[in-house]
């Protein structure tokens, strides 16, 4: 169960983003409520990763506004897993401990959460191993252990299985499903349409820095409404 219940819904109003001065998103109106699994789809350069970072508070909107619940600054209770996880030069267990320490969880409570999280992702026996010498798949699982231990209200995932082999990717998908089952709202990007079908409740389709479609996943894959989504699903160049 998530520890925090303060940062939802996330609401964007006419938001734009221009990281590094380059306009990527324009006129985004969006409300993300608690509980669902939303997958952001779209071609390369559509702005999926940028939107994820705006929602997580890593990139401030260059225009418009964003609110997390009643707050205008990012509240605690959020976490993000990146395509390439960044691990600190310390043991796997201590990487999880570092995240907990920043979240204000210490002592016996932290120990219990670390053990539980490493168990959940199947890395318990590697707790003392330096995180940076783990394989790519193990490091990604460790990134999820960090998230599991934090018990976030909402979790952002930026192509979390893009650099993994199929077996590791399925294993990570199972972890994502477990995290969602525990009450965490999931927002993720992926280029893997099969994965999107498996994981999504909702699909948000982006094209050219705008949301062109937001529909339940089943409906999106059966009868996409926007011409861009149709072309995307048919594998045509947009």
């Amino acid at each position: 169960m998530a520890d925090f219940v303060t940062g939802l819904p996330i609401a964007l109003s006419q938001a734009a983003a221009a990281p590094g001065g380059v306009p990527v998103l324009t006129g985004i109106d969006l409300v993300l409520a608690a509980g669902g699994r939303t997958v952001l789809l779209g071609p390369n350069g559509a702005g999926k990763s940028t939107l994820l970072r705006v929602l997580h508070g890593l990139i401030p909107p260059s225009a418009g506004s964003i609110t997390w619940g009643d707050a205008t600054t990012r509240p605690p209770g959020q976490a993000m897993v990146f395509q390439r996880p960044v691990m600190l030069r310390r043991s796997a267990g201590d990487n999880v401990r570092y995240a907990l320490d920043l979240a204000g969880v210490h002592g016996a409570e932290a120990d219990a959460r670390i053990a539980e999280a490493l168990d959940e992702v199947g890395l318990r026996t590697l707790a003392a191993r330096p995180a940076r010498v783990l394989s790519g798949g193990e490091q990604q699982k460790l990134a999820f252990a960090r998230v599991w231990a934090l018990r976030p209200e909402i979790l952002f995932l930026d192509e979390p299985t893009a650099s993994l082999d199929p077996a590791a990717a399925r294993s990570v998908e199972k972890i994502i499903a477990d995290i969602h089952r525990r009450g965490t709202t999931i927002v993720m990007t992926t280029h893997n349409l099969v994965q999107a079908k498996r994981l999504a409740d909702d699909v948000l389709f982006l094209h050219g820095g705008r949301i062109t479609e937001r529909t339940p996943a089943r409906e999106f894959f059966m009868t996409p409404r926007s011409p861009e989504a149709v072309a995307f699903l048919e594998g045509e160049r947009l």
Partner: protein, 241 residues
Amino acid sequence: MVALRTVMNTLSESLALAAGLVTHFDTHLVEIVMLSLRVSLTATLLAACLGMPLGAAIAVGRFPARPALVVVLNAMMGLPPVVVGLVVYLLLSRAGPLGALGLLFTPGAMVFAQTILITPIIAALTSQIVADAWTEYREQLTSLGAGTYRAAMTLLWDTRYSLATVLLAGFGRAIAEVGAVMIVGGNINGVTRVMTTTIALETSKGDLPLALALGLVLIAIVVLLNALAQVTRGWAKVRFG
């Protein structure tokens, strides 16, 4: 031809005498080496305490004075030792603002001068290493909720094996320096005479064996520390990735 043979004989005799001084742990030689190490290690430690946090703050922080600070720091990396010596001399001289400390012509003054000399080097190199790490870690640490101070401390710890090389560079600069310590230490026998000032003095007197022996020790120290840093970094790379 005769002159060349005489020079070669003098050199080989001096080298033999120098080797004897080193292998027999000559008391005078050991005293000078130990003082050099004490002064330069202390200066390196102090410069690390000042320079590393400063370098990390410059790498991670975004504050109005940052660009100016970077320019000043980079400029100070090339500080001429004799100018530093002169400034420290003026500060510590009896009429100077720090004259009451009574540090002039003591090892403390030499530590002071060397600290000023190498702090910019340590800060600038630290800033470079931490900035590279910050590029890699920024999103992850920000996502986890690390503020600027916590992020800077985390990066300093995570780059500690690379920073060992920075310390080495600082120490190398300190122990090989002669101008500043000569001015503020006075090269007083048994009190402030270190390896470099002794080499300069003994060479000018024509007493080559002691100068050569100290030169050999100085080179050995630098080679040993470089080897140590390389082994440490290699070990850390394998151990921690």
